[in-house]
């Protein structure tokens, strides 16, 4: 049997050798490649129809522009803040008309009544 080293050398030599394709074969392969090549994608066409306005764009236009919409937004945030504030923080308003004792003396000393005092307090005439 042929020696393993000899066989390996022979196989290695075969691996180093390459068949040279004929010019005709190369031409045929390249012709196939050209014939089957997908076309180069062209540039995207100009957009002829304007895009429909989006939700935010339409909303902004309805309020008269970005500035007006910002003002409305600010007012909305301020209103929300007033609504969420604790009633006790408004005592600076009601404190001038009624004292804590006044509210404590009433039967219903709820926060609502402290915030909105009885109308009689404002209608009482000064007898002095």
């Amino acid at each position: 049997m042929a020696g393993e080293t000899e066989l390996d050398d022979l196989l290695a030599a075969a691996g180093r050798s390459r068949m040279t394709p004929s010019d005709a074969l190369m031409a045929r392969v390249l012709a196939d490649a050209e014939a089957m090549q997908p076309p180069v994608p062209s540039a995207l066409p100009e957009r002829s129809v304007p895009r429909p306005a989006g939700f935010w764009q339409r909303l902004t236009e309805a309020f008269g522009g970005t500035g007006a919409l910002a003002g409305v937004g600010t007012a909305a945030v301020a209103g929300l803040a007033f609504g969420l504030m604790q009633p006790s923080t408004l005592s600076v308003v009601t404190g001038g008309y009624m004292t804590i004792e006044d509210t404590a003396d009433t039967a219903a000393d709820t926060a609502d009544e402290a915030l909105f005092p009885d109308m009689t307090l404002f209608l009482t005439e000064d007898q002095g």
Binding site: L10, V29, A33, Q37, P38, V40
Partner: protein, 199 residues
């Protein structure tokens, strides 16, 4: 070293195929120059040295590559692995048809050596040795021949050969080992002739 003349020469096969699919003609040329000699040599050895038939198989394999290029799934398989598999299957079909017709496998032709040999005598000896090898390869069972050529001549790793032949790595190792033993036995008959040629 980067070839400054051809920026595509260093690009991976897959990148060239993607470029081809996007309309790059230079990529097609680079891929053709890279793959065609390898596929032609492999096909020629599987077909027992029938060069004309090997050229047809190579052209068909490359045509299938161009066709599949737009739908190529990147990262799934190496382009060369895919191409070797196509050549393997095409050659198997042709050998089957040849057997049905009762034809014989051509073993006279063999790849010409392109690496330089120092002298005429040395070249003749080398050609004789190569002819003996090609004849022995042609006499191997088909699957052993495929495995031996891919492993020892094309220089591929066992996992890639397994992917090409669509078998397990262990089966590749077995085919390669048996193929080499058979090859050595077939060359034994030529041994005296080879030794005489060298002497």
């Amino acid at each position: 070293m980067t070839d400054a003349r051809d920026p595509l020469s260093e690009a991976p096969d897959e990148a060239l195929l993607v470029l081809y699919a996007r309309g790059d003609r230079q990529a097609a040329r680079a891929l053709t120059l890279r793959l065609t000699p390898r596929l032609l040599g492999y096909a020629s050895r599987l077909l027992g040295g029938d060069r004309a038939e090997a050229e047809d198989v190579t052209q068909e394999a490359m045509m299938r590559l161009w066709r599949v290029a737009p739908d190529w799934r990147q990262g799934e398989a190496k382009v060369s692995t895919w191409a070797y598999r196509v050549v393997t299957n095409l050659c198997t079909d042709r050998l089957r048809m040849r057997r049905r017709r009762g034809g014989t496998e051509a073993i006279d032709d063999h790849p010409e050596l392109v690496d330089g040999a120092p002298g005429v005598e040395t070249r003749m000896i080398a050609a004789d040795r190569m002819a003996a090898l090609e004849a022995a390869l042609a006499a191997l069972p088909e699957r052993q021949r495929q495995a031996v050529v891919l492993r020892h001549i094309e220089g591929l790793g066992n996992p890639e050969i397994a992917a090409i032949l669509e078998i397990g790595v262990e089966a590749v190792e077995s085919l390669t080992a048996r193929g080499k033993r058979a090859l050595a036995a077939l060359l034994e008959g030529k041994r005296a002739e080879l030794v005489d040629g060298e002497g």
